[in-house]
């Protein structure tokens, strides 16, 4: 079992603030910008006024974090995996000046994983994350539904449960406690999150940045039973979901039979970082003779071919690093439960190498390393 969500992270030093959680985060970010400790903040925000959408933006003006500002930190929504965005920002080199990023645990894992894949730098990024209660699917953000769902979301969070309208992937996520964040905001199971807030400071940098908050008192928190309960519930749902994956060749063909080949799953996947994907490249164009040959051999052929090849190939490429964010399922126009399938395959691959994607920046990606003596039983 992945130990990402072990409550040990919560025996570290916590700061208690007499202000609601969302307000605290806003206040923290505003103060950081005003004091110049960070030059910008990456957070969700309204794009195009109240009627507009929600997207990630870099904010520089502290006013964005006022009560009615454009920034919406902690909004349970993921229009893109922020890990992929941070990789784009730092692809050519590390950020020259500190930037705070408000991210979900899976986005943090994606960031770390991408840094390990040489797709970005973590330097100068201050990660502010939270115990995660999941995010709503993208279609919730289209017609203002999101605003209506928010009271339900926070109600569930206070009780330490998840709204059943959040992504299924989130309900099945057993990695909802961030590891490696500079500051973690306690949200899940915090009954008083409207009135008070606990921040867990996990790095020295985090401590320095959090110190600018007024009214903070230090306390040490005991292990959190609510998180353990949530883990049990999510593990159970995870098993339920995994059991729905259709297996065997027939299952594979049934599942991916409805794939329309848009490659949207690959486009939004934070781990799929190649500029030119093999499956979009000339290598996957077939000469006329191929079609003739396949027709002669099998008597028929799906056009365009290679649907299953694409999906299995993508598994071979990224399942080992899959952070289980659920972007793929969310964008699939034919509702293929991609994230469930990739999480299941990923869990199997990760277990084979005892690897935890996005957990530790110093842990080598399994296919980038090897031992002289290992897996002796594999070669026969």
């Amino acid at each position: 079992m992945p130990e990402g969500a072990s409550s040990s992270a919560f025996t570290s030093e916590g700061l208690k603030i007499n202000r609601g959680a969302v307000d605290t985060v806003r206040e923290l970010l505003r103060t950081l910008l005003e004091s110049g400790k960070v030059k910008a903040v990456l957070a969700l925000g309204r794009t195009g006024g109240d009627e507009g959408g929600v997207g990630y933006s870099l904010f520089r003006n502290p006013a964005a974090f006022e009560a009615n500002g454009a920034a919406l930190p902690l909004l349970p929504f993921m229009p893109a995996n922020a890990g992929a965005l941070l990789s784009r920002l730092t692809l050519e080199g590390p950020l020259p000046e500190p930037v705070a990023a408000v991210v979900r645990p899976c986005e943090l894992r994606a960031s770390i994983e991408l840094a390990k894949l040489s797709q970005g730098y973590l330097d100068n990024i201050l990660f502010i994350s939270s115990t995660c209660g999941g995010v709503y699917p993208l279609d919730a953000g289209i017609d203002g539904n999101l605003e209506e769902m928010l009271p339900r979301y926070w109600q569930a969070m206070k009780q330490g449960t998840l709204d059943d309208k959040v992504r299924p992937t989130c309900r099945a996520c057993n990695n909802f406690v961030p590891e490696g964040a500079d500051i973690t905001v306690a949200l899940l199971g915090e009954a008083d999150l409207d009135e008070e807030c606990t921040l867990y400071v996990q790095t020295e940098r985090g401590a320095d940045f959090a110190s600018c908050l007024e009214g903070a008192t230090t306390e040490v928190k005991q292990e959190n039973k609510v998180l353990e309960r949530s883990m049990v519930q999510r593990d159970a749902f995870r098993e339920e979901l995994f059991a729905t994956v259709e297996v065997g060749l027939e299952g594979l063909i049934r599942t991916f039979g409805r794939c329309i080949g848009c490659h949207g799953c690959k486009t939004v996947c934070p781990i799929c970082h190649c500029r030119l994907c093999h499956f979009d490249s000339q290598d996957c164009e077939r000469p006329a003779g191929f079609y003739e040959g396949e027709l002669a051999r099998k008597g028929g052929l799906r056009v365009p071919p290679d649907t299953v090849y694409f999906q299995l190939g993508r598994m071979a490429h990224m399942a080992i690093s899959c952070v289980g964010c659920g972007m793929c399922t969310d964008v699939c126009p034919t509702d293929i439960p991609l994230s469930t399938i990739f999480s299941k395959v990923g869990a199997s691959a990760q277990a084979a190498f005892d690897y935890h994607p996005g957990k530790d920046v110093d842990e080598e990606i399994p296919l980038r390393t090897f031992e002289e003596e290992e897996f002796a039983q594999v070669a026969t």
Binding site: G251, R302, F370, V378
Partner: protein, 143 residues
């Protein structure tokens, strides 16, 4: 009886420096072995992309054999060790999806002086694939 009718197609990715030489030597020595392995010579087992294996299966192979130098004897020092990790990865994917390609996919170490061992590996794998029967992927139109 059906057994005789079914001649499996096994795609064998053989390392230039060892197994390929062993296969050559087995031929020169006129050892008897099943004619089921279609040899693809690679410069190292480390050259075998997992996609090669998938392609072989999706294009009608009944089995895939990757064979190269014993650990510690790789011409490029570590290619075979990397191939071993990729094999573990692919097998874990096949396992998770309960695909029978897992049983039809084999990695073997055969050095250049081990022609008899190569014959043994081919015989054993050929037997195994014959017992499994034709790979059902071949007849699938909608891959």
């Amino acid at each position: 009886m059906e057994d005789q009718a079914f001649a499996p197609t096994i795609v064998g990715f053989l390392c230039n420096w060892c197994t390929y030489a062993a296969a050559d030597s087995a031929g020169v020595s006129r050892f008897k072995m099943p004619p089921s392995v279609m040899v693809v010579r690679v410069m190292c087992t480390g050259r075998v992309d997992p996609l090669f294996v998938l392609t072989a299966f999706l294009r009608g192979a009944d089995g895939v054999l990757i064979s190269g130098c014993w650990p510690g004897q790789c011409h490029y020092q570590t290619g075979n060790l990397q191939a071993r990790r990729r094999t573990v990865l692919l097998k874990s994917i096949f396992n998770a999806l309960e695909l029978e390609m897992e049983e039809r996919f084999r990695l073997s170490w055969v050095s250049s002086s081990e022609a008899p061992r190569f014959v043994q590996v081919v015989k054993g794998f050929d037997r195994q694939i014959k017992d499994l029967g034709p790979c059902p992927i071949q007849d699938e139109l909608f891959l």
